[in-house]
């Protein structure tokens, strides 16, 4: 006999997730915002670079909320009279490249090493953890200076430096969770079935750790965006006239009490991006957890 008909067809994952996203309006707004950011990152420099670089000393520190010069000046102008709106949009690309690069690299490297350290034997784990200790106590500025001198300045190196310093969090978090999860019965069950270590790690353990990692990663995004500018003064990575949000904030720092908008808008951009990422990751945590998923599935259906 065939049971094919009897097994219900579930809607494809895309429609399911779309529905769940629709159910959480905060997450939806976050997703839309991030989409906009992504588009800006892709087309921003090509579109507005000229406007963002055009200096106009007479319009320096022009206050926001005026449309006299055009919409690009709506957020005000910086110390060289360049429109902040255009600059923020143009800076999106560099900012995202560095931040996403650093966060993704550190999160992946960190969690992989953490999984290994948590699951592998005592020796391997000991080595990995002690190396993490060393990284944790190595001041990032020193790493930066060393990399600068040994390899020279470049955006890749900037990403490298930023990610090295963040590896230990992911590593330690992952390992701690693995230590507990590997004792759970369903992991034993998978082992009995002959699941390879790889499968156990990625299919059974990682999904449980992942939400915590994304939570940390989203906040690291903000951290990296801000930290990046503090390295640019060493001459590493993004340098004026190239811009990032972090650099804009750093440049606006001295104007904080006189022309707050210089650092406020890029700061707001960072906050909103972080907030969106976090809302989205919180949403994802629920969407990926079958025990919690009803929170999203319910809302779409009836006013529960």
């Amino acid at each position: 006999m065939t049971h094919n008909e009897a097994m219900p067809e579930t809607p494809g994952p895309i429609t399911r997730f779309a529905r769940m996203l629709w159910a959480d309006k905060f997450a939806l707004a976050a997703a839309i915002f991030l989409l906009v950011v992504l588009v800006m990152a892709l087309i921003g420099p090509a579109w507005l670079d000229a406007a963002a670089q055009k200096q106009n000393l007479r319009g320096r520190n022009a206050p926001p909320f005026q449309l006299d010069f055009g919409w690009l000046w709506f957020l005000g102008a910086d110390a060289l009279g360049r429109p902040l709106m255009a600059r923020i949009i143009v800076a999106t690309q560099n900012t995202m490249m560095v931040a996403a690069g650093a966060v993704v690299v550190s999160a992946i490297a960190g969690s992989m090493l953490g999984l290994i350290a948590g699951y592998a034997g005592d020796k391997v784990s000991q080595v990995i953890m002690r190396v993490a200790d060393v990284i944790m106590s190595f001041p990032s500025l020193l790493i930066a200076v060393i990399v600068l001198y040994v390899f020279g300045p470049s955006v890749t190196n900037l990403i490298l430096i930023l990610s090295i310093t963040r590896i230990p969090v992911y590593l330690r978090t992952t390992r701690a969770e693995v230590l507990e999860i590997r004792e759970r019965m369903f992991v034993s069950a998978a082992r009995v079935m002959g699941a390879s270590q790889k499968r156990i790690i990625f299919r059974h353990i990682l999904p449980v750790v992942l939400p915590t990692l994304t939570t940390i990663a989203t906040l690291d995004f903000a951290y990296v965006m801000l930290a990046e500018s503090s390295l640019s003064f060493l001459g590493i990575g993004i340098q004026p006239p190239e811009i990032t949000w972090g650099l804009m904030i750093a440049q606006g720092r001295q104007y904080l009490t006189n022309a707050w908008w210089l650092s406020f808008w890029p700061g707001l951009a960072i906050i909103l991006t972080t907030l969106s990422l976090n809302l989205l990751s919180n949403w994802l945590r629920i969407a990926l957890d079958p025990v919690q998923r009803w929170r999203l599935e319910m809302r779409g259906h009836k006013n529960g």
Partner: protein
């Protein structure tokens, strides 16, 4: 447990040695202290003389040998800039940093756990939304914003606390308040996430069936199960405080190890850099050891 600690201490010692070797050799790749210590128009003779005086003309291996030899006699060398034992300089600063880190982390931990747990208890509720929003904005805002705005509001306008410096209890309030914000935001999120899963476990049902009140259910039953990632992240944040809170130290004139480390790195005052790294590394290693012990204490299923 004792064998674990013994093994761990040995491994940490090895990584400490590794750290010294690494920092010693790598830092020497980063340029000549003479150029930075001497005025820009110093004569060549002065430069040669300076290098001679500080043993910088010897082969690096000889320098290293000398350093290690001195280290065995608990001599960390002298600070080039300050002409006093590097370890004194570092310990002075580190005492401040340590106090600041401990006070801040204690406050952060207590507050973040309470707020995060309550947010998780009614996930998606009003308190959750507000708590998440506020903590996330705080955590992703540039720290100098918060610091400067705090000074403008609380010192200049209201006159409640001094702008900066050390001395009285009042002096500590602003730095701690500003330092509090980022770790708080991060830990709230991690607690929240971890608690959401813990609160939906079967043992929480058991507790409810026993008639246990909401507070012990959250803070006794669920929290301990949710603590593994939380203490890991607390450890990470504590480590970054132990490495020094540069912005806070700069703005509030707080004589901690962060600014000392940065200045020493930028001025290539290697002995101070090394001593500072050794001291903070020791503290961080110790903390990580405590955290690893805490894992096993918190969760009896974890074995080493």
């Amino acid at each position: 447990m004792l064998t674990f600690i013994r093994k761990r201490a040995l491994a940490s010692l090895i990584s400490l040695v590794g750290l010294v070797v690494l920092v010693f050799f790598l830092s020497r790749l980063t340029g000549d202290p003479a150029a930075l210590f001497l005025p820009e128009d110093a004569t060549e003779a002065m430069r040669v003389q300076f290098r001679e005086l500080h043993g910088l003309n010897d082969p690096v291996l000889v320098q290293f040998g000398r350093y290690v030899w001195d280290l065995f006699h608990l001599d960390f060398g002298d600070s080039i800039r300050k002409a006093r034992p590097a370890i004194d300089v570092v310990l002075e600063a580190f005492t401040w940093t340590l106090q600041l880190a401990i006070i801040t982390m204690v406050l952060v931990t207590a507050a973040a756990i309470v707020v995060g747990s309550l947010a998780a208890f009614r996930a998606g509720g009003f308190f959750d939304r507000i708590a998440s929003l506020v903590s996330l904005i705080g955590a992703s805002a540039p720290d100098f914003w918060i610091a400067i705005v705090a000074i403008v509001v609380f010192s200049i306008s209201l006159g409640w606390v001094p702008t900066s410096g050390t001395g009285t209890v009042l002096h500590w309030i602003l730095p701690i308040a500003v330092l509090f914000i980022r770790p708080f935001g991060l830990i709230v999120q991690v607690v929240r996430g971890s608690m959401i899963s813990a609160l939906s476990s079967a043992y929480v049902k058991t507790a409810r069936a026993k008639g246990v009140r909401a507070r012990p259910i959250i803070f006794v039953h669920a929290l301990r199960n949710a603590m593994l990632p939380v203490i890991t992240v607390i450890g990470d944040q504590a480590a970054s405080l132990l490495n020094g809170a540069v912005v806070i130290e700069t703005i509030f004139g707080f004589p901690g190890v962060g600014k000392l480390m940065i200045d020493s790195i930028l001025q290539r005052d290697f002995n101070v850099v090394l001593a500072a790294i050794l001291v903070t590394a020791l503290a961080i290693f110790l903390m990580n050891l405590l955290i690893d012990i805490a894992y096993a204490v918190l969760d009896p299923r974890i074995r080493y």
